[in-house]
Point group: C2
Chain length 330, copies 2
DNA sequence: ACCACGACTGTGAGCGTTAACAACCTGTCG
DNA sequence: CGACAGGTTGTTAACGCTCACAGTCGTGGT
């Protein structure tokens, strides 16, 4: 910077002013500085800037299993929204998720000097890490349950499940079976909740829940079990599309026709769902909206210096009806 | 830090030494400092550290479309490997990929003070941005063609395609059709190359190529066209699994039986492939290995301060045989 | 002619850390 | 007993930037 100042015949402070678009710089001076910057190939050192301003214009993201469609989409949405707002994103992708891991990641990012942190905490154990947050750094949670001290942005899982279940009941199915996601996941809980609520509201029996772990294989295994009771089962709500694919595969192998014998509904609307055999009825989540809102809320927290309200933002899901669900055949 | 020094009755430099695990600190002194740090809840300011050491222990990643399975897995592999090596990762996820975008991202990250950059450049236009790199910052390319000035880490796409095609020829198919990926993508080119090479090596005719854009829908459309010529076609190599799903769907709709009438092979081995109807024969890429190697090479470049060799690391792919491919029927 | 004011520019300090060097202490060896 | 090595600690000066403040200059009003 000193070199530029010398080359342009001004003080370092004037160079700084040009860089920061301060209004009180004569146009001619600005040009001279800009030319010098260009000629010398000068790049300002953001680290030094961050040291004095105490703002790095970088946000941290703590996530888990960023290869799964849901988390990957969420992180992508967050990154885009952050960049639009002029912020960088540093990512920590946890291998195993637990209280300690999330806390370490938050500490780690804090130490790096990020201005705020988005924690994608889809599991109870991760969400619990948000209960007593280190003060001094704004944090928002995505899919983080009640979120403890942090604001929460989430998709209304229960509502999505309710839509899916009600859709099947509307088709005249006596009841709807459910293949759930893994124990610790809040999304799995929310979906069960909505499913039960819809059944209860219609005065239907609540069948035993089958367990899965989000993987197609676990759906396949659940599908085998359901196929074995094909005479009692006419509709299944599966907690995500990957497991739903496994269910469809098991049904195909066992000669159970979808939707003639059994209707299947998934959750997520992954790009593949439309081309399953048959195309899958499912619940779409707007991950872009989740990312945008989480950044909005986080920036608001940063501006308010932690004194912002711990609001809660719920994004509504949509039902996408395709060929895997149909009126009951009897 | 001054506070800690005062509390422990030492100089700030001794605190710094404790923090950096300098050997020449008396055990008793270290304990005293550590206790003071703990008591005051002190956290060292990495920004100030980065300013003076000129190392941020942060690496930049420039990527594109991080929701697709391939890029997402690559970025995940990079992130894990970087963290194992004690580095942070800042991500820039490009919306549209072109020379200017990649250059901007590299500049952006350089300005932020990253120690090195991994560019995931699966497209020709992105790879071309690597031809004249800004000096002064180590860069490695993943899937970046010849890579220009930067070392390249990639999966041997042509070899994967050769494996897939040879597998189908071994099954007695007269020739193998191909649904390619989008124009600008190097991976699409590599896969075509391998496919042609395998056909040429076997002295077979090279059929017209069908075009897709990686999406299931484009595969579906290609599948419809192939189904219309089902009597000439007995084997198809599709450039990725998502498009292969679309092809399978189109075949199902048109009553083309897989693999009885037509064998289908994909590329990527996404988690869903095993549960397609029928389960998909495909080519698996080891994204974890790509991530690890790219970080290895990048760190080597950083140590060598840019004077490292521009090596090229090729990761071999594996053929995974499932039910969608079978010996020719007739 | 004087003053006030705004536009523009320069000066010095300081952000929190590490590097380089100096200083001190202890023990060992000739 | 003195010198010297080596472990341990403290002092000072950067790193590259912004902030607060202090000019300087020209303009317009009284």
């Amino acid at each position: 910077m000193a070199d530029v100042a010398k080359a342009a015949g001004v003080s370092h402070q004037t160079v700084s002013r040009v860089l920061n678009e301060h209004p009180n710089v004569r146009a001619e001076t600005r040009d001279r500085v800009l030319k010098a910057i260009d000629r010398l190939g000068y790049r300002r050192n953001m680290v030094a800037r961050a040291l004095v301003t105490r703002h790095s214009r970088t946000l941290g993201v703590v996530s888990f299993d960023t290869i799964l469609y849901g988390p990957a989409s969420t992180v992508y949405g967050i990154e885009q929204a952050a960049r639009d707002a002029g912020y960088f994103v540093s990512i920590v992708s946890l291998r195993t998720i637990d209280r300690a891991g999330v806390r370490d990641a938050i500490d780690y990012l804090t130490e790096q000097g990020v201005d705020g942190i988005v924690v994608v905490a889809p599991q109870r154990s991760a969400a619990s890490a948000l209960e007593d947050l280190p003060r001094g750094i704004p944090v928002v949670a995505v899919e983080g349950g009640h979120g403890g001290a942090a604001p929460v942005i989430c998709v209304d899982q229960a509502e999505g499940a309710r839509l899916a279940t009600a859709h099947l009941l509307d088709f005249g199915h006596e009841t709807v079976w459910h293949v759930r996601g893994p124990q610790d996941w809040l999304e799995a809980e929310g979906r069960i909740e909505g499913w039960e609520a819809a059944l209860t509201a219609a005065g239907r029996e609540i069948p035993d829940v089958l367990s899965g772990d989000w993987s197609p294989r676990s759906g396949y295994e659940a599908g085998k079990r359901l196929a074995a009771m094909a005479d009692e089962v006419s509709a299944v709500f599966v907690a995500n599309d990957q497991m739903a694919l496994g269910v469809l595969r098991a049904f195909t192998e066992e000669g159970v026709r979808v939707p003639d014998q059994i209707s299947v509904v998934g959750f997520d609307d992954i790009p593949e769902s439309e081309f399953f055999s048959p195309p899958l009825t499912t619940v779409r989540q707007d991950f872009g909206a989740v990312g945008r809102h989480s950044i909005d809320v986080l920036l608001k927290q940063i501006e308010a210096e932690g004194r912002g309200e711990t609001e809660r933002f719920v994004v509504p899901p949509d039902l996408v009806v395709r060929a895997s669900s149909a009126p009951r055949n009897s």
